[in-house]
C-alpha cells in the first residue's frame, strides 16, 4: 500500500498539524500579552502618590485614590491567612503523615472538590452563615470566605511537600528517640518548609484577586478601615465598581488599581517560581 504520493500527503498533514499547534500557542498568548500591555500602559499614567495614599474622592469628580482598597486587601489577606494557613498546614500534615486510610482519602477528595468550587458559591455560603447571623457586612465575613478558598490550596501543597520528605529522615529522627510529633514538626515540616511557604504564597496570590465572594461579604466602602464589623474596601472590588461607573476618570483609575493588583499577584507568582526553582523537590500543581 506504500506509495510516494501517500507518504507526501501524510507529510503535509504532519506539517499542517504542527502549524496548527503553533497557531494555538499564539492564540493563547495574545490575550495575556494584551492584558499586560493594556494594564501597564493605561495604569502607569494614573499612578501617583496621591492615587496610592488617598481614599476615593466624590463620585463623579476626578481625584482621590485607592489607598483604602489597598489597605482593605492587605487586612483581608492577613485575617484570612490567620485562619486558613494553620488549619491548612495541620490538615495537610494529617493527609501526608496519617492519611493513608478511608478517612484520609475522603478528606483529600472533598478538599479537591472544594478547591474547584466556584468562589461566588463560597461567598453565598458565608453570607448565609456569617453576614445574616451578624446582621452586617464585615471584614470578618470576608476573611472567612477567603480562608475557605485558601484552605484546599494550602492543604494540597503542604501534603505534597511533606510527602516528598525522604522517609530515611523520619527514621533517623525516630531512632534518636524523638516522639512522633517532634519528628513531624522539627524534622519533616522543617524540611518541607519551602514547599509549604510556596503553597501559602500561591494561596495568597489567589485570594488577593478574588472579587465575587467579597461582593456578598465585605460589600466595599469609600472609607478606611474602622472596625472588624464595618464594611471595608478591597482592590478587586474597587476595580469592578470603578469599571461600572460612567466616567472616564473612573475607568482610568480602574486601570491604575488593576496595575497595583496585578503587580501584587504576579510578584507573588514569580517569587513562588524562584523559590521552587531553588529546592530540589518537584513543583506542586494546583
Amino acid at each position: 500500500m506504500w506509495s510516494e504520493t501517500n507518504y507526501k500527503i501524510r507529510k503535509i498533514k504532519e506539517r499542517l498539524i504542527i502549524a496548527l499547534t503553533v497557531v494555538a500557542v499564539i492564540l493563547a498568548i495574545v490575550p495575556l500579552a494584551s492584558i499586560l500591555i493594556e494594564v501597564i500602559v493605561r495604569g502607569i499614567s494614573v499612578i501617583s502618590i496621591e492615587f496610592l495614599t488617598s481614599p476615593p474622592g466624590i463620585i463623579g469628580q476626578a481625584g482621590g485614590g485607592i489607598a483604602n482598597a489597598i489597605q482593605g486587601t492587605f487586612i483581608l489577606i492577613g485575617l484570612s491567612s490567620l485562619i486558613g494557613v494553620p488549619i491548612g498546614i495541620l490538615a495537610g500534615i494529617y493527609l501526608a503523615e496519617f492519611g493513608d486510610n478511608p478517612i484520609g482519602r475522603t478528606i483529600r477528595f472533598l478538599s479537591d472538590v472544594l478547591m474547584q468550587m466556584p468562589s461566588i458559591v463560597i461567598g453565598i455560603f458565608v453570607y448565609v452563615l456569617v453576614v445574616l447571623a451578624l446582621g452586617r457586612f464585615s471584614p470578618i465575613a470576608g476573611a472567612i470566605a477567603l480562608s475557605i478558598i485558601m484552605l484546599p490550596i494550602v492543604i494540597k501543597t503542604t501534603e505534597e511537600s511533606v510527602r516528598v520528605v525522604p522517609s530515611t529522615l523520619r527514621e533517623a529522627a525516630l531512632a534518636l528517640g524523638l516522639r512522633r510529633w517532634r519528628v513531624t514538626l522539627s524534622v519533616v515540616v522543617a524540611t518541607a518548609k519551602s514547599g509549604i511557604v510556596t503553597g501559602v504564597m500561591l494561596a495568597v496570590a489567589r485570594i488577593a484577586g478574588e472579587t465575587a465572594p467579597l461582593i456578598m461579604t465585605v460589600l466595599g466602602s469609600q472609607w478606611f478601615f474602622t472596625s472588624l464589623l464595618e464594611p471595608i474596601d478591597a482592590l478587586p472590588l474597587r476595580i469592578w465598581r470603578l469599571a461600572l461607573l460612567p466616567y472616564d476618570y473612573a475607568h482610568q483609575q480602574g486601570w491604575g488599581a488593576a496595575l497595583v493588583l496585578i503587580s501584587i499577584v504576579l510578584t507573588l507568582n514569580v517569587a513562588v517560581r524562584a523559590l521552587s526553582k531553588m529546592r530540589f523537590s518537584r513543583r506542586v500543581k494546583i
Binding site: 501524510r10 504532519e14 504542527i18 496548527l20 499547534t21 497557531v23 494555538a24 492564540l27 493563547a28 498568548i29 490575550p31 495575556l32 492584558i35 494553620p86 491548612g88 495541620l90 490538615a91 500534615i93 494529617y94 492519611g99 475522603t106 478538599s111 479537591d112 472538590v113 472544594l114 474547584q116 468550587m117 466556584p118 461566588i120 458559591v121 453565598i124 455560603f125 453570607y127 448565609v128 452563615l129 445574616l132 484552605l151 492543604i155 516522639r179 512522633r180 510529633w181 514538626l185 488577593a208 484577586g209 472579587t211 465575587a212 461582593i215 460589600l219 478587586p236 469592578w240 469599571a243 475607568h251 480602574g254 486601570w255 488593576a258 493588583l261 504576579l266 507568582n269 517560581r273 500543581k285
Partner: protein, 334 residues
C-alpha cells in the same frame, strides 16, 4: 523534652516488661498532635456539609414558594407584589457560555498542550509553559476590565460584525453587534480556561510512556500519526478529565463574564442569539446581590440560583476528580 530523662541516666537497663507497658508507647504529645491534625482535616468535611445545608436553607423560602417553577420559569421580577422568580434563562445562559468556552477553548488548549509536550524544542518549553500558567494567575476582575474596554471591541469588529452581515438571517446570529453579548462572555471564558485545560493536558501527555511513541515510529508513522495513535488515544481519559475541570471553571466563573455579557434579565436573557445580551447564573448573583431588598424574596431567589450553581459545580467536579483519580491510579498522570 520529657523523654530525655531516661536517656541521660547512663546506660539503659533493658527492662523488658517496661517496654510492653502500653501507656508509655502512646505518649500524650502524640495524641494531642494527632488530634489537632485530625480536627484541622475534618474542618474540610464540616465546611462541605455546612456549605450545602446553609445554602439550601437560604434558598428554602423561594423553593417552597415557587417549587419546581423556580427551575422552569422565565420571569424575574423583584418588585413587591409582583414577585416572580424563574432561573431558566440563566441556567441556559451558563450552559451556552460554557459550551462556547469549551468549543473554542479545548482545541486551542489541546494544541498548546501538544506543542508543549511533543513538538517544542526544550529551550522554549519551560518558559512558554510558565507564561501560559501566568494567565491562570491573572485575577478574573482584570480579565473583566480588559474585556469591557479592549476585548469587547475585538469581538464586535472582528467577529460579530461579519457574522451579522453575512449570516444575520440565521436566528443564532441575529441582533446588533454591540460587543457585550453571550458570544463575548463565552469567548472570555474560553481564554480563561485555556491555562487550566492545557496545563493538565500537558501533564497527561508528558506521562505517556515513550514506548508508545517508539512503537508508532517503528511502524513508520509520521510525527502527527505517532501523537494521534500512540499518545492521544492513550491519554484520552486524562484529557477528558482536563476538559471537565475546564467546564467546572467556566460554569463558576463570575466577574469577567458579568462585565461583558450585557446582563439581560427575564425572558430576554434567554440565549436565543449569540449576539444579544445574556446572563449566567453567576453573573446574575454578582449583579443583583447588593441591590436585593432583604425583606423581599429577592435575596433568597439569588441564593436559590446559587444553589443550582452549587449542585452543577458539585456534579462536574466530582466527575472530574473521579476521572482524574482513576487515571492516576492507572499511572497515566504523575
Amino acid at each position: 523534652m520529657e523523654d530525655s530523662k531516661e536517656h541521660q541516666a547512663g546506660y539503659p537497663t533493658f527492662d523488658a516488661p517496661n517496654l510492653l507497658r502500653k501507656p508509655k508507647l502512646i505518649p500524650k504529645g502524640d495524641t494531642i498532635f494527632l488530634g489537632l491534625t485530625v480536627a484541622a482535616a475534618l474542618s474540610v468535611v464540616i465546611i462541605m456539609a455546612l456549605l450545602i445545608t446553609k445554602i439550601y436553607e437560604g434558598a428554602a423560602p423561594v423553593f417552597s414558594r415557587f417549587g419546581f417553577k423556580f427551575l422552569t420559569g422565565l420571569e424575574w421580577n423583584p418588585v413587591e407584589g409582583m414577585e416572580a422568580y424563574g432561573a431558566l434563562p440563566y441556567l441556559l445562559g451558563t450552559l451556552t457560555t460554557s459550551a462556547i468556552a469549551l468549543i473554542v477553548g479545548v482545541p486551542i488548549s489541546l494544541g498548546v498542550a501538544i506543542f508543549l509536550a511533543e513538538i517544542a524544542p526544550s529551550s522554549i518549553r519551560t518558559p512558554l509553559s510558565y507564561v501560559i500558567e501566568l494567565l491562570a494567575a491573572v485575577p478574573s476582575v482584570i480579565y473583566g476590565l480588559w474585556g469591557v474596554f479592549v476585548f469587547r471591541f475585538w469581538v464586535r469588529d472582528l467577529i460579530e460584525k461579519p457574522l451579522s452581515t453575512y449570516f444575520g438571517f440565521i436566528p443564532l446570529f441575529a441582533g446588533t453587534p454591540y460587543g457585550l453579548s453571550i458570544l463575548s462572555g463565552g469567548l472570555i471564558l474560553a481564554i480563561m480556561i485555556i491555562p487550566t485545560v492545557s496545563a493538565v493536558c500537558r501533564e497527561v501527555l508528558l506521562s505517556v510512556p515513550d514506548t508508545q511513541r517508539d512503537a508508532a515510529y517503528s511502524l513508520g508513522a509520521t510525527r502527527w500519526e505517532a501523537i494521534r495513535i500512540g499518545v492521544l488515544s492513550y491519554a484520552r481519559a486524562g484529557i477528558v478529565g482536563a476538559i471537565i475541570l475546564g467546564l467546572g471553571r467556566a460554569v463558576g466563573e463570575t466577574m469577567a463574564v458579568t462585565m461583558v455579557i450585557g446582563n439581560a434579565v427575564g425572558p430576554s436573557a434567554l440565549p436565543t442569539s449569540l449576539l444579544k445580551a445574556g446572563q449566567t447564573m453567576a453573573s446574575l448573583i454578582a449583579n443583583e446581590f447588593n441591590e436585593a431588598d432583604p425583606v423581599s424574596l429577592h435575596p433568597s431567589a439569588l441564593i436559590g440560583v446559587g444553589f443550582i450553581l452549587l449542585i452543577s459545580a458539585l456534579i462536574i467536579n466530582v466527575a472530574a476528580q473521579l476521572l482524574i483519580y482513576r487515571v492516576r491510579a492507572k499511572g497515566v498522570v504523575e
